[in-house]
Subunit: 342 residues, 2 copies
Amino acid sequence: VDRSQSSVTLSDVAKEAGVSLATASRVINGTTRRVGEDVRERVLAAAHKLDYTPNGPAQATARGRSNAVALVVHDIADPYFASISAGVMRAADEHRLLVSIASTLRQPERELAYLASNRGQRSRAVILAGSRVDDPDLNDRLTREIAAYERSGGHVVVISQPTLPVDTVVVENRAGARELATQLLELGYRRFGVLAGPPQLITARDRRSGVLDALSAAGLQPVALTAGEFTRDGGYEAMSRILADGTEVDCVVAVNDVMAVGAMAAARDHGMVLPNDLAVAGFDDIATLRDVNPSLSTVRLPLEALGRMALEMAVTAEPAPPPRRSHVAGDVVIRDSTPPKN
Amino acid sequence: VDRSQSSVTLSDVAKEAGVSLATASRVINGTTRRVGEDVRERVLAAAHKLDYTPNGPAQATARGRSNAVALVVHDIADPYFASISAGVMRAADEHRLLVSIASTLRQPERELAYLASNRGQRSRAVILAGSRVDDPDLNDRLTREIAAYERSGGHVVVISQPTLPVDTVVVENRAGARELATQLLELGYRRFGVLAGPPQLITARDRRSGVLDALSAAGLQPVALTAGEFTRDGGYEAMSRILADGTEVDCVVAVNDVMAVGAMAAARDHGMVLPNDLAVAGFDDIATLRDVNPSLSTVRLPLEALGRMALEMAVTAEPAPPPRRSHVAGDVVIRDSTPPKN
DNA sequence: TTGTACGCGTTATCAG
DNA sequence: CTGATAACGCGTACAA
């Protein structure tokens, strides 16, 4: 090992202050404040003079636990996850916790690997921010890996659906989509196209189901329904398929905002004028997309709060708690992309 | 310390395989492959059977270095930084490096604190992704803290301007802005409004300067110039000020896309029809904003590549290298928001 | 090729 | 209230 790197250690500080290593440790991390005021000041002065910084890994090995939490997202460049991450980071900062972020690149199996890695890292918690998937085998392995992680002393919290036996921030996707579709019906739309997301993602399925719920409650069903990736291009392609089919639709509901924006682009490329020729609605209320034109009707989700809540759950976790569930609803926001029909 | 938590250690594996700790260590981390094939297999089998995961903090203390890199951004919810982060994370993944992300909340002094924290964390590198600022005192302290961090064995790489004695991915903001403005002049615009960013951010200043360069090369200067935050709302407010002044402008150039979008919103709220009544251009080519209407003329930056390059520099850093500089230029993209003037 | 033993920087127990 | 000192889990000279 190359020990040529300098670095002030706690025993340097102790030496400088003329006290024992133990005492120096006590004043630096303040575990027990049973330290003489004069001694305390001497140590603090020495630490400051030497520009001492505690060695994180060493603290972590000695304590058996690090002060980091891990956040696992599908894709950090997706504004949905970026906003959630901002919430997690802000809250983590208040608790003086470090945040390490990993991306699954939309491959659910990678959550397993990150969990195992975190078991080794002795992180305090891992927050799984991506949608749960419908894959019994995978969920089974995930449950086992979670158990192993928790046995090692960490806590897991999920943001999305309560399909795992852990603390969960439950997003009311289905109810939100139902309410959105209900309001669109009230606006006079009848011929609905639904741009569904990847079928295995429960978030996408719940939103789709919510829309269908509302329609069938009105004795209707969508005149077109097609799935696409959970991205702008996925929305563009799905919309293009509907247009190519020649199906007449009044209103297209996409299961998230980025798909909705892709759909709007496809409609325009097909010569349509929005919102006159077609109404479009999304889901999430992504901040960056609030200025698209016409402004997008959607379901607002408090994304940053989601992240913040998840971190708070992670921090307040108890030894062997019954999994907690915090439910978060979305608010329907009707804007110019879905004007009243006639 | 609560040692009730189970956890398989390397010596458990060694015991199970009937070898010494040293041998187990050798096969697990493969430092020297001078291990008998049979023994090697026994150890691997034992590790797999016990579901062993190396203890990260312990490895880090023993090696004197962790396998994490830190990324410091102004705000992870800003799509500019989110994209850079995606690049860093993808590249880090290929190098089996963990990435921990911190946000300065746009307070430059916080970079100092994160650097000190990373000195303690023994991270391999820290990537400073935010613009440098014009604050001699701060830069001085930063330089000293960087020196301390590097003395502890880490490497620093900056994405933005080469104002610090470290490896830097230099973004050619000024040249990009100059080229953008030049092309706008060619399109026939003459009465320019410039929405500058926070004066202390060098990225904002360079872009502003680039625009002014091009204008004065044509014997012009902006008819309006006002600064605002580097955000959507900053753009909205800056544009509103120009409109309130009643200054007649042909074309507004914002120093980034999110400000440009805010400016478009302000213009619309003021009754203008875009792009007929006003041309607007931005900078960055944020992916999420590619579908705004009219589509935004801008300077495309390879954001994800920026992050990737920074990580590669961090990984290939040498002991005492002369700081390296990688220059990255932007590409002007003219779209519908700046149609030819007559 | 394999094992022994020490070191890494802290924390925490147990005497004093 | 303070000081020795044994862990913590792993890497690696050095010896065998």
